[in-house]
């Protein structure tokens, strides 16, 4: 009885959580007039690929939105910033986990506090500095922003994972004939891999989905990312909801693929802390 109630409550919660997402996906396959119909049409009477056709330039209707450029920009920016954030996160996480140095606690706390500042609060200063440096509407500008947003988090997560690995493993490897560097790559890195994968997914998703700062710092197809591109569907008096939903689906797909690919590591990663090796 109790378990049925629990199951039902869980189910209800899941439904509430996923309805907006599912509605977006569903809407991507419906014509605009049905989406906007009043009273709403709950059960779709007509499913179509026309919305995607509009975006990718086939079919009768076209919208002038350079989705391919946006997609490439998003990919380049998200992947590059993730790779950089991971490299810095690994180096920093390892340093915090393994070495003693002056002001270690303070620096760590500072990094975490930096993460507490809402990104949007930084938009004006960043905008001003970037415009001096000529980084407005450049991929590099966004990459730098995303790296700095993600680095505190990757350091924090990866530090936690290296901390879980006893020092004696690396010491044993060094006695066994490894240099410190070899000991890291052959022993500590493989053991922290799940944490690094988890940090990578989070960093990628943050960069991939970020809208507020990107909308300020990008102008053209040179650097506009997919979330910013969504705004192209709003005209002065109309919003092309169907097109927007189709685009949203396109944004979701790589994120889903990414998450599935590292899912195994991710779960191991997120529960690692509770398990004693």
């Amino acid at each position: 009885m109790q378990s049925v109630a629990l199951w039902f409550a869980t189910f209800l919660l899941m439904v509430i959580m996923s309805v907006p997402g599912l509605w977006v996906v569903l809407s991507a396959f419906r014509p605009n007039r049905e989406i906007l119909a009043k009273p709403p049409v709950w059960v779709p009477t007509e499913l179509t690929l026309a919305n995607f056709g509009k975006i990718f330039g086939f079919g009768s209707e076209q919208v002038g939105i350079p989705v391919t450029s946006y997609f490439m920009n998003s990919m380049i920016i998200a992947l590059t910033s993730t790779v950089i954030a991971l490299i810095i996160g690994m180096a920093g996480g390892y340093a915090f986990a393994r070495y003693r140095f002056r002001f270690k606690g303070g620096i760590f706390l500072g990094l975490m506090l930096f993460r507490a500042v809402p990104g949007i609060a930084l938009s004006l200063p960043i905008f001003m500095i970037w415009s001096r440096l000529g980084l407005i509407d450049a991929k590099m500008g966004l990459i730098i922003v995303y790296v700095s947003l993600n680095v505190p988090f990757t350091i924090w997560l990866i530090d936690g994972f290296f901390r879980q690995i006893p020092m004696s493993l690396s010491e044993a490897a060094q006695v066994d004939g490894c240099t410190r560097w070899q000991a890291f790559w052959k022993i500590e890195f493989p053991l922290a891999r799940s944490g690094i994968a988890a940090a990578g997914v989070f960093a990628f998703l943050t960069s991939w989905n970020e809208f507020a700062l990107a909308s300020q710092l990008t102008r053209s197809t040179d650097s506009k990312t997919l979330p910013v591109g969504l705004m192209d569907f709003t005209a002065q008096f109309t919003i092309d909801w169907a097109g927007m939903c189709a685009m949203a689906v396109i944004i979701i797909i790589p994120a889903l693929i990414m998450t599935f690919l590292v899912q195994k590591h991710l779960i191991a990663g997120l529960t690692f802390g509770g398990v004693k090796g």
Binding site: S168, E171, A172, Q174, D176, G177, T179, K186
Partner: protein, 364 residues
Amino acid sequence: MAGITLAGVEKHYGRMRVVHGIDLDIAHEEFVVLVGPSGCGKSTTLRMIAGLEEITGGEIRIGERVVNDLPPRKRNISMVFQNYALYPHMNVRDNLGFGLKIAGQPQAVIAERVREAAEILGLSELLDRTPAELSGGQRQRVAMGRAIVRHPDAFLFDEPLSNLDAKLRGQMRAEIKKLHQKVKTTVVYVTHDQIEAMTLADRIVVMRDGYIEQVGTPMEVFNHPANTFVATFIGSPPMNLLPGRIEGGQVRLAGGEAVPVPARLAARVAEGLEVVLGIRPDDISPVGHGLGEVAEPADITLTVSIAEPLGMESLIYTTIAGQEVQAKLYGPRIVGPGEVLPFRLALERAHLFDAETGDTLEAR
């Protein structure tokens, strides 16, 4: 041929000194045990030999080489850690072969050496398991296997048995001893367990607060402790220490009782010297219930406070000169609290220490 020499080795952490210039000569193929209470610098000393800890001062030589500035991998030693430090993501075979693989040995050599080590340690059946799938004793054996496959100049052990339960510890102790007989190599073994020290060592090094208190064979350390610290640290239950003063060829204890000065020490004590009389529980027994013939008996009547029967013997708590003393009763006789019995001290095995310095009065 590779002995290990420590000359004036020091270790400071910032302003804190944890090892104060120790000198030690370890012979080729010798089994040396570093023993001492927690925090006395045993692990630090071992880790300096391994190269895992920098040496603040002095010199360490392995064989003919000064290794002060060599990284661990260039010292040709292997180490067994307290937590075993097995690589969790590799199976037993790869754990054993890791060092050889890093050294670039050919596959065939690695396979052969791993097989050989696995055989010596009875691991042949377990080669495909991961460390998580092994019991504590098996992990311990893998850790030792990993140490022997490389045929190093010396093995370093840091409290390898302290994570095992008492029974397994006894078994593994015997295995380590056998292993050393099979694989003749210099061993430096750290423990705070004096039984491990006594049973395994060719020579024991007793450490305290970063100093070496005494170096000697187990029997030397047991029978001729250099000072009161060693006297109470080695041997279980510990040696009884009774403060007193030399008066007319006797040791007058603090409570007024007097016992003769042991004959072998008679020439080494001066009238009026403040001393500590040391006597092991085995050397205080009720008359007729001792370990055997007593050459220099001193009889004294004592009241039993508590008796703990241990089967063929009982441990008796009593007081001499107002101080708690442990004594041993051999043979199947039950005594109870409050019982008053004549006891006999075997003074030929008693010790005298200088009360001020704690050092033995024996010739050394």
